[in-house]
């Protein structure tokens, strides 16, 4: 296979863009799990909701209105879910949580069908980002570059908040030992709530930025769920490092697998996941020990 350097650069950028999208989704899920031991299978549905809110808002006030308001709306849905369901399911075992959120997938899927119908919606790329950018000797769509930059910016912001601020220290303490943290006077319950809302908002944001690239369909949440779960299980639950490492591994294996070994591409990532689980049953960078 003789491809020039530009081709590989292009693939690397595509892989990076996929990784960043997955990172936005998986970071919320993984920190929610690490902090609350709560498995939220409906995280993908929140991503789909984000895309739908963005599509509706974009029709009213343009792309940027959707970009800023849709994550807030999704966080609002998160508040509702938290107060109605998740608070009560906190103490249940993982299976009950998996099932409740599996039921929630059904409910949210059909609700989006009722409100927005089955037809695929499309959002236009905003005018500001519609062109192509000259980068490393190739032309790359500005919008995809925007996703990469956004993902890296959010990673940097989260790394700063989690690593350098007081609330970050409190979250890390909660992930490490929530009983001890609450003995030390940290309101762990409120911390859970904040983290859950931020996680939902990030899932919504991922939906918003993905909407112009993919078409907005009711089952987009189901399609993204499995890659997100693979990312957090490979990376290890609960850690920022795990989420970014898992996303990069997934993005690059998937993209380069599709180029180098198209027949094996889809099996490759699952085989990798199985290998990780056999060698390190708790993932590469788990939050605890």
């Amino acid at each position: 296979m003789a491809h020039d350097l530009g081709f590989w650069t292009l693939q690397a950028l595509n892989a990076l863009q996929l990784s960043m999208l997955l990172f936005l989704l998986s970071i919320g899920l993984t920190v929610i799990f690490g902090l609350m031991h709560f498995v939220n299978l409906a995280h993908g549905s929140l991503y789909a909701l984000g895309a739908y809110f963005a599509a509706s808002l974009a029709a009213i006030g343009g792309y940027w209105m959707g970009f800023f308001l849709a994550p807030v709306a999704v966080a609002g849905v998160g508040v509702l879910l938290y107060s109605r369901l998740i608070k009560r399911m906190r103490k249940s075992g993982p299976m009950a949580q998996v099932l409740v959120t599996f039921g929630l997938i059904f409910v949210l899927l059909d609700l989006t069908r009722i409100f927005w119908s089955d037809l695929a919606l499309a959002i236009d790329v905003p005018a500001l980002l519609s062109g192509r950018v000259e980068l490393l000797g190739i032309e790359y769509p500005a919008y995809r570059l925007f996703i990469i930059v956004l993902g890296l910016a959010i990673f940097a912001a989260l790394a700063f908040v989690l690593g350098r601020t007081q609330i970050g220290a409190m979250i890390r303490a909660g992930v490490d030992n929530d009983a001890m943290a609450s003995c030390l006077g940290i309101n762990v319950e409120r911390l859970f709530f904040i983290v859950f809302c931020v996680g939902c908002a990030l899932a919504g944001l991922a939906g918003v930025v993905a909407a112009p690239l993919l078409s907005v369909t009711p089952d987009m949440g189901l399609q993204i769920l499995i890659p997100t779960l693979i990312v957090i299980v490979i990376g290890g639950l609960g850690s920022l490092k795990g989420a970014i490492a898992g996303s990069l591994i997934y993005g690059f294996v998937q993209t380069f697998g599709a180029v180098l070994a198209p027949q094996l591409a889809s099996v490759l990532i699952y085989a990798l996941l199985a290998a990780v689980l056999v060698i390190k049953p708790v993932g590469l960078f788990p939050a605890k020990g």
Binding site: L99, L109, R113, Y270, A274
Partner: protein, 334 residues
């Protein structure tokens, strides 16, 4: 260990009678629904053995069923094996695959076990979806049913096929009870309650888990081979993770670890699906709400709820009898 009590026996007899009545009297559509229930029931029995009695909550049983279905289709239609041989081979193949999965996942617990099994299921799904041998997205058609003409049964008739599935389900139920009562089943109960202690007692825990998962896989493969013969056409959708999720939903709605409950759940689920999809295209919404309500109520499914009330009543009666006895004693003492 699994035991039959009066309630379980009653429900079993009622279910069997209803299924038999339906199989003998229903028209074509009723028979199709009955067969669907019976095949789903075989699958959820397999899942209940692993999840309810072994704590191995698997999200790959749908995929295992799909492996059984595809193996049967390929072996009988493409490799030209006789249907009984193809069916036996498909079941053994699925069981071996499940044994390997069980062995690999035996070290994982809780959510990691769920994720690991999900990964294996998805691996099978995408392989079947991509490989040209399996017909990809289009699936495979032209699958023949077993030939039982030597005992005068024509399985291409839907009534005979429904009765055949009912008989198979009966046999699978009997086998499941035997498995759970065997030494292996008792070791499994021990592993589920306290894995550390069983290990300290010298049990090879991973072997127990892998063996049970393999047996469960055999049953799932059987369900798959039957499903392929029922619809005579298979598509990769059979292996999708939502099928495994639905199987888990059925087990939970019925009552985890009761063996009878999942049978009730299978019947309820298929009937609900058909009734609701006739009324509204959004039947998933209703099923989702019911699922959330059942799990939040903390009852162990429909059957578990009935059983808890039944036990509660029996207990109250015992307490009342004891109290009466006591009053009598007090009176006679006086």
């Amino acid at each position: 260990m699994f035991r039959h009590n009066a309630l379980r026996c009653t429900v079993l007899v009622l279910l069997a009678a209803a299924a038999l009545f339906q199989a003998l009297t229903a028209g074509y559509f009723g028979l199709e629904i009955l067969t669907e229930i019976l095949i789903l029931a075989i699958l959820v029995l397999a899942l209940d053995i692993a999840a309810g009695f072994g704590g191995m909550v698997s999200l790959c049983h749908g995929a295992l069923m799909g492996v059984g279905a595809y193996a049967y289709a390929i072996l009988s239609a493409k490799a030209g094996l006789a249907p009984p041989v193809a069916m036996a081979a498909a079941i053994v193949l699925t069981g071996s695959a499940a044994w390997i999965i069980g062995a690999i996942c035996s070290r994982s617990h809780g959510i990691y076990f769920i994720m690991a099994t999900l990964a294996f299921g998805q691996m099978a799904y995408s392989y079947v979806f991509e490989a040209p041998v399996f017909g990809g997205d289009d699936g495979l058609g032209g699958i023949s049913r077993l030939d039982l003409s030597f005992i005068g049964v024509d399985l291409n008739d839907s009534r005979s096929f429904a009765l055949f599935c009912l008989a198979t389900l009966g046999a699978v139920y009997g086998a499941s009870v035997l498995i759970l009562r065997s030494g292996l089943g008792r070791s499994l109960a021990g592993v589920m309650h306290n894995e550390q202690r069983m290990r300290a007692l010298g049990l090879t825990v991973w072997r127990v888990k892998a063996d049970v998962f393999g047996l469960s896989g055999l049953i799932a493969g059987l369900a798959g081979a039957l499903a392929a013969q029922h619809i005579m056409y298979i598509s990769p959708g059979l292996l999708s993770w939502t099928v495994s999720g639905e199987a888990l939903v059925v087990v939970i709605l019925g009552g985890l670890g009761t063996l009878v409950g999942p049978l009730v759940g299978a019947a309820a689920f298929v009937l609900l699906k058909h009734e609701l999809s006739a009324l509204t295209p959004h039947w998933h919404l209703v099923v989702g709400v019911i699922l959330i309500a059942v799990v939040m109520s903390r009852a162990n499914g429909i059957f578990g709820w009935i059983e808890a009330r039944w036990d509660g009543r029996a207990e109250r009666r015992a307490v009342k009898a004891a109290r009466k006895q006591k009053t009598k004693e007090v009176l006679s003492d006086a």
